[in-house]
């Protein structure tokens, strides 16, 4: 009896040790994120901005596909609604040359919130269609949404600027502008803070909030209901979960995430074109959540940063890495190499470790812990 008590006591101590160790990682990460603008140059911050925008959108897809099990290939459509929604709502209405560009000139914060709500509304509108469709039919129908959406983006020139796109209005918060101010330079602790630095903090804050919200949802009643819908619809219904309702919720929340990611993406790009929001982007988001690990918040973010940064990272170090040719020449360019990489990653992960990077990380953690679970 005392043997068991000793083991129990030792295990409790180990658990708290592991707990302490586990808390260090996010802490280090948080500090790194906060001091990044002071040590990292604007080029990499820009990459980071794209990564964080992708992360927010990926979290949304993770909720829809990972938690609720709904295969939607139309995520880039809702991202576009957020991006263009913000742009149209915040831009000033004007006529340049012969073309009229519609804008409502709303305060950027209001425009951003409205864009997110607009994306959510679009998701809600799509959900009754989605609820009637099973599995793959839903996947392909949502693909149709992307094509139709892009078509509108290319053609509704007064709203979207058509093929050439539109400039994204700078974000301001209570008078503080996140864009580059002409003639004025902002210095923080001796470091010049330009657009990228300022937007960085905005993006980090938004991503952190999105991340925490996701985790809270996953751990509580709505998350359980979504997973029940994913794993066993009939059992879920009989246990009292309104399946059609929760599918609608899933679409609503995930498209709001997509819209939010779209706003960040628009700010990161500074100028958006319809070309961006096509099937290729939708497949990229899918790659992000698959590679990161379906259903995992950490995985969504890791996958997003990986997939969005990979082409640029490869390009930067093309000289050093064997087999990579410089852009424009014969052979495997960094952009192409990145696509090969994440295409292959999707295949390998689904074949061998469907839980993605998150599952691999869990395994590594278990192996490294001082005591194996018995």
């Amino acid at each position: 009896m005392s043997e068991i008590a000793t083991v129990a006591r030792r295990r409790a101590r180990t658990v708290s040790q592991v707990g302490r160790r586990a808390r260090i990682v996010p802490l280090v990460l948080a500090v790194a994120l906060l001091v990044a603008p002071f040590y990292v140059d604007a080029f990499w911050l820009q990459i980071g901005l794209f990564g964080l925008a992708a992360a927010v959108a990926a979290l949304g897809l993770g909720l829809l596909l990972g938690q609720a099990g709904q295969l939607s290939l139309g995520h880039s459509f809702f991202v576009a609604v957020g991006a263009y929604g913000y742009t149209v709502l915040a831009a000033e209405d004007r006529t340049i040359g012969g073309s009229h560009q519609f804008g409502l000139g709303l305060p950027p914060l209001l425009a951003a919130l409205a864009a997110v709500l607009l994306a959510g509304a679009a998701g809600l509108l799509f959900s009754p269609i989605a609820a009637r469709l099973r599995g793959i039919y839903l996947g392909i129908a949502s693909l149709g949404l992307v094509f139709l959406g892009q078509h509108v983006l290319f053609n509704a020139e007064t709203l979207t600027g058509g093929f050439n796109g539109r400039t994204v209005p700078e974000f301001t918060l209570f008078g503080f502008s996140f864009g580059d101010l002409r003639g004025e330079a902002l210095y923080v602790l001796g470091v010049p803070f330009g657009r990228e630095e300022k937007l960085w903090y905005l993006a980090v804050a938004v991503t952190a909030a999105a991340y925490l919200f996701f985790r809270n949802v996953a751990k509580s009643r709505p998350g359980r209901a979504l997973r029940a819908v994913r794993d066993n619809e009939i059992a879920a219904e009989i246990m009292g979960v309104g399946v059609a309702r929760y599918k609608a919720y899933a679409f609503l929340v995930s498209s709001m995430y997509a819209g939010l990611g779209g706003v960040l993406l628009a700010l990161a790009f500074h100028r958006i074109v319809p070309e961006t929001f096509g099937v290729a982007l939708a497949v990229e988001y899918l790659a992000m959540v698959v590679i990161g690990g379906l259903g995992s918040a950490d995985g969504a973010i890791a996958g997003a940063l990986f997939v969005s940064a990979l082409p640029t990272v490869l390009e930067r170090y093309a000289g050093v890495l064997p087999g990579l040719a410089a852009g424009g020449s014969e052979g495997v360019t960094p952009g192409v190499a990145a696509k090969f990489a994440y295409g292959a990653a999707i295949i390998l992960i689904l074949l061998f470790e469907p839980g993605g990077a998150a599952a691999v990380a869990t395994r590594v953690r278990t192996v490294l812990s001082p005591r194996t679970s018995q």
Partner: protein
Amino acid sequence: MTHLLQLLVSGVSLGAVYALLALGFVVVFRATEVVNFAHPALLMVGAYFTARFRTVDELPFPVAVLLGVGVAVLVALAVQFFLVRRMSGRSVIAVSIMTIGVDVVIQTEITRRLGVDILPMGDPWQDGVVHLDGLTIPQTRIAALVLSVALLAAFFAWFRYSDWGVAMRASAENPETAALMGVRRARVAALAWAIAGALAALAGLSLTTFPAPGLEPATSAVALRAFPAAIIGGLDSTAGAVVGGLVVGVTEALAQGYASELSFLGLGFHTVMPYLVMVVVLLVRPTGLFGTRELHRV
């Protein structure tokens, strides 16, 4: 009136090609329960190698086509044998996402090789036209129509009457029982994928000859329309694939032909017409016109 007739002829010949594409896609789904998102990639592979064998190696056209089809079939078999088979027992969605990965890899390679080039197919018909009753029909379109009809007829006859065809249908209907009765599932699966590869390659041929300038990266977007065609017909219905293909072809041709009247719907509307029709059909019939099965088994 002749304008409408012209468009209908055009639409039917285009539709027959889409039917070929959709059919290959549906055959794989019915025989192996896999939604193969890499189907457009198979088309690109077949078309690319046909063009290469013709223009670079200067082989005679029929030989180049045969070889191109052969490469596509090999790729299809490789995907089935090395990847899909390893995922037997997994959910439909998991395997389908895996095929998305395959599509990315294959298409990236083909696009890389194409670069900014447009590869001509080197077909014997080129831009020749036939005048019939006031209609002007490209020879390539007639060839495509004849080829497609022949292939479709051959396929359905084979599917219905031959031993292998029956085996495939039995396997699709009830895999366990079919296996117990001696149907080798592995062989049926391989055969299904081979057929898909061949049909895709041949459809690719028809999509890259006149009036198309040749094979270019944008061709894969055209190939993607096999999906709405298959969905409209119903993912598990071979007859539905043909109907879906025809619907997509005809509506696309009409939309393109009446583009000036439909200019308010935007430039290039005909390219998204298939998806619009698909969404409309799905609203009314969530499993397509002739589809039956619940895809997501509980």
